[in-house]
Symmetry: C2
Subunit: 676 residues, 2 copies
């Protein structure tokens, strides 16, 4: 009934029409998005090289495999990626590191690790931690071998019963003065290390966070470098109980592992001793720079934001293209069914996510600059901006993971039933995205930390002490609590969001003060004020994003872009600001007087922004410059042949390779026969 190749070699006509009708140059967008024409060229050349010879059929069907086969698939894939990146490095710049290992966890290459990269953490976290916390000799001994991939290491901190609260960790390392060793133990089931990526079946070494005891005196959590499996045979070392924690919603091939230890002995120099020391005689020298660990988390969080906005942009690309090629329900009943992108309700599901990805991206840029500035400050021993940077990185991590997770699901649902198919790749993206709400600082925990920063700032403002730039609005609102006139300008909307954040901070501060007055301690009172603190924290983050987004689009950088590109970017900005303002209206209305007419005007602006973006939507997502191998979606390919690709993927499904399934012969057939 069907010819062999059902996928047309041409671009879907509806999609082509969209591209032809755009008001701006998609290539200019792509260059801007990449950070400049040179960066775009670099990115494209890397992707071309890396994605060129991937096995399409194997990729398409990996979800059909058993868990064990998926784990194999992931290990094989990620080793191939490592090999290719090293080859690229050798070909283009031997001795450098801009390809390997820099790009190993690059979000633009995520399409190569469809089931996750079991070795990603090794370069993203372990090597960096070793660099930061080893002595030179230690790094030479441990780090270099990792760089060469001679061994494979995980980062074991979280325990089965212990997460965020580091001081609650139970794994212990006792110094044995007699043998000059540490003895590691897992005293209970809840003390088992749990979650480290790659620990289950791949790693033969691991960084282990354990409570250091000297003469049974607790010195707090420290990092130890522990061999967990034999090199060569890969058998677990004596006293080591290791395995994988079992299947998860996503990251199917990452073999997250568990680790229990019984009297595992390691030499004293396996404690990372750059900032902290245990001497031969058991003398303990405390780290003078605790703040640095904290700083490392900031950088990791920024990188997570990057992973998230790239994934959201990919999802938006899939949903936008699919919305342009899928037809459903006529608008005028005398005419045929329309492209679903013509329904305003569909536009409201899809376009704001394009804008959200962009907003998070531009905040990431801003934050990354701030990170580099602060980094230099720290080198000179100046730590003033660290609390602010910490709060901002937390806020952006929380908001980008929360909004993008919801957005991904909204986009998936906007693709109707087909978004539920594995071949759409939307479920897999969702599973990866939603994990980011939990890892590297659970979102509520981070919001509470921001909340405490806000309370501190609020108190400082009351005393007239100086505030960090992004919290100064708190002092301004204290000085002048009247919002003034609502104008609806972008700056005015930012001010409204700041007032909403300041007001929530005020309310939280009042609640906290009442509780303190009742005799609760600061910590207890803060915990009981948790709901208001998290709300204030979220609004603080939103105000920051508003400010960044506006600055990046309307600031001096706009001069480097063509008027037609700027027009499109401004429309995305307008959509984002109006939509977010409406979504947070209940908090804004508490401090800003908007008339019914003002609110109706915002609704009109929302609908106008959607209408204006309609003709450019496809060209915008084209400008994100994803190749099909990255999106890996039957719904979102560049050629827009969605139905044919959905069908083609189904025909290639393993169970469709025979006409009658085993289950009929074994169960269904005999059962129906017995009922005759």
């Amino acid at each position: 009934m069907l010819s062999k190749s059902i996928i047309p070699s041409t671009v879907n006509a509806d999609l082509q029409k969209e591209r032809d009708g755009a008001s701006f140059n998609s290539e200019e967008f792509a260059a801007w998005w990449a950070g400049g024409p040179e960066q775009l060229k670099f990115k494209r050349s890397v992707k071309e090289y890396m994605y060129k010879d991937i096995n399409l059929d194997e990729r398409a069907n990996f979800h059909y495999l058993s868990h064990e086969d998926i784990c194999e698939f992931a290990v094989k894939n990620s080793i191939n990626v490592a090999k290719k990146l090293r080859q690229l490095q050798a070909e283009r710049n031997p001795g450098g590191s801009e390809y390997w290992p820099t790009l190993y966890e690059e979000p633009e290459l995520a399409g190569l690790h469809l089931a996750g990269n079991p070795f990603g953490v090794m370069y993203l976290v372990v090597v960096k931690a070793l660099k930061a916390q080893c002595t030179a000799e230690q790094y030479e001994e441990f780090g270099k071998r990792l760089e060469q991939f001679e061994v494979c290491a995980a980062y074991a901190q979280t325990e089965l019963g212990h997460g965020t609260y580091l001081r609650g960790l139970e794994t212990r390392a006792d110094f044995d003065r007699d043998t000059d060793e540490f003895v590691l133990n897992t005293p209970t089931i809840s003390a088992y290390k749990w979650w480290p990526g790659g620990l289950g079946h791949s790693a033969n070494y691991s960084l282990v966070m354990a409570q250091l005891y000297i003469d049974n005196q607790l010195k707090g959590p420290h990092l130890f470098y522990v061999q967990v499996r034999e090199e060569g045979t890969h058998e677990p070392r004596p006293g080591v109980h290791i395995g994988e924690i079992g299947k998860k919603m996503g990251f199917l091939g990452v073999n997250n592992g568990f680790l229990g230890m019984k009297d595992v002995r390691i030499p004293r120099n396996r404690l990372l001793m750059r900032h902290v020391q245990v001497h031969r005689d058991g003398t303990y020298v405390k780290s003078p720079v605790d703040v640095l660990t904290y700083f490392a988390m900031v950088s990791t969080r920024c990188l997570i934001v990057r992973i998230i906005y790239v994934a959201l942009a990919a999802t938006a690309t899939i949903a936008t293209r699919y919305s342009a090629v899928r037809r459903q329900s006529p608008i005028d009943p005398t005419l045929p069914e329309v492209q679903i992108i013509d329904h305003v309700t569909q536009q409201l599901k899809v376009f704001p996510e394009i804008a959200t990805s962009m907003a998070h991206r531009l905040c990431f840029d801003y934050l990354w600059d701030l990170f580099n500035v602060t980094s230099k400050d720290i080198d000179q021993g100046r730590y003033e901006r660290l609390p602010e940077l910490h709060a901002l990185s937390c806020a952006l991590k929380v908001i980008s993971s929360t909004d993008a997770t919801r957005g991904t699901e909204r986009l998936r649902l906007a693709c109707g039933g087909h978004g539920y198919l594995t071949s759409s790749n939307l479920g897999n993206i969702y599973a990866h995205m939603s994990a980011s709400c939990t890892y590297e600082g659970e979102n509520t925990v981070l919001l509470l930390q921001i909340g405490r920063f806000l309370i501190k700032s609020w108190r400082a403002a009351q005393k007239g002490d100086p505030l960090p730039p992004t919290a100064r609005y708190l002092a301004e609102v204290q000085r002048n609590p009247e919002f003034g006139a609502w104008t609806g300008s972008w700056e005015n909307m930012t001010k409204a969001m700041q007032f909403a954040a300041a007001n929530k901070t005020r309310l939280a501060f009042q609640s906290l003060s009442k509780r303190l007055d009742k005799g609760e301690s600061e910590e207890v009172a803060a915990s009981h004020t948790g709901i208001e603190l998290t709300q204030a924290a979220e609004l603080h983050g939103r105000a920051f994003i508003f400010h960044c987004f506006i600055t990046e689009i309307t600031g001096p950088k706009s001069k480097t872009r063509s008027p037609s590109l700027n027009r499109v970017l401004e429309q995305l900005l307008e959509l984002y600001l109006v939509n977010m303002t409406l979504n947070n209206m209940s908090d804004i209305l508490r401090v800003v007087s908007l008339t019914d007419g003002d609110l109706s005007k915002l609704q009109t602006r929302l609908e106008t922004a959607l209408t204006k973006l309609r003709p450019d939507a496809v060209a915008i997502v084209d400008g994100f410059d994803f190749i099909d191998g990255q999106l890996n979606s039957t719904l979102g390919s560049f050629d827009g042949n969605a139905p044919e690709r959905i069908f083609d993927a189904a025909l290639k499904a393993p169970m469709n390779q025979k006409s009658v399934p085993k289950s009929f012969h074994e169960y269904l057939g005999p059962f129906m026969k017995s009922n005759l």
Copy 2:
């Protein structure tokens, strides 16, 4: 390191403490929730019988299987369930139907079909459709064999390129007067039937919705009963192209299928002819009762609401128990880490979902009564309440699926990292839940239908025409647009939600009118007003839920319950109303004047409700009366031994059965060696 059985035989002490400290009798709750002591007894006896000899290890590990093996697992399981239900029927009431097939898709038995029931649709939809639309002779021929499970049938309506818009279907059935047959054809790829559960590999028959043509004259979509596979061999019939559509996010074992037909000939009597006829000579007799098809959808939608609230209650049970046994972060830093259920932020994540499940349940009860009343009306030819019932069933389907999907994810995230484990079962529940946003009427499409109902009602009110009871508030608001005083009572909150709904309806009506004035047709204008219409529809549904929930808790039925149970139910009602009111505050503030003090009072009420529910939370979810086999979750078992069960599940994972994985020998080992 570990003894064989790591799961204690005792109940976790923290959980036991919760149960001992409850302010009410969990058994009384259970009887109330079940609909009475007799129903509770019945439900328990069924569950005991059905769940007693399930294979725990096989269940625990099904996610590790390949897609093909999961499909086998599902077929085997669901046949077993059918056998057991028939056995139960035979033992307890031979010839009856209260066990079989009535309970086959019963949500309380969903834990038996962990990968979905490939035969669920057969009894939930196909047999019912045959009953409603076959002549007696046809039902005797087709239906009876299905009842006996001699054959297996699917329901094929949706096509690869066509969903909600029935008139857009492309599959055609041409009447061949010469042979007295219909000839079925799938003219394009987008016309392939797509999605029917069980169609891929199980069904040998299918109901097929196809455009009927007589002498090339279109008569619109009609239902045909088509044999698609040979009985006996199960090979596809000539001209039939059939298979599965491929893996999906959830319902992993349901073998959703595709179907293409090329000149498939069926006898004329395979058109379901109870209400519509094609005579031997090709004369076409139109159905006089189109409304009945529409009525069938109402009943299906109600049943979906039931599936959803049961699943949400199950998820809330898991998260509540886990919150009571997991400890994380001290509140007072001088004391140990607390049960996470003590953190107010955690309470806000978990408790509202308990209340939501209950709210949806009570609205379902209300709607089901209305359904039965309307059903009797219809038997007497009275159709007046049908539009209202349609609008309410759509609203409840949309809101329950939307809120429960988000709620499930919120609960999963509230379980931290462990919620991401397959063994928590939360991801699987989520995948099933989120599908309900799309199937049986995509949510936005349904909201637009409600929106049109509201516009119609608004116009009727303007003309002074009578309105159906649940829409009468629109007329009241038109007569008296001033809300009056905010008192914060439950009734007052309902009124506020109604005013918000009426106001959005007014805004939508104004926008629609402006568009009509500009010359747009009613349909085009309604489509362009889609955003406001969907917003109005949602608020209308929320006002309805408020009203029902209050009535069911505070109405005459409260007399049948003890004061202590009523106190708990009222606290859940209070939490639900306050939380939802706060969540919809931006719409409420447009019509109701709340002072800053009023809003602060609501915040206090929210926190107070959480605090009051805190000691009863575990006992409440115990009252939902789930057994472990239903929850199927390492986090939510009755004994609360979460860490041990998580660990036990990991140890049983297939890859942990050998110490070194294949991937090491094949890829990782050689690679690391080559780098030495």
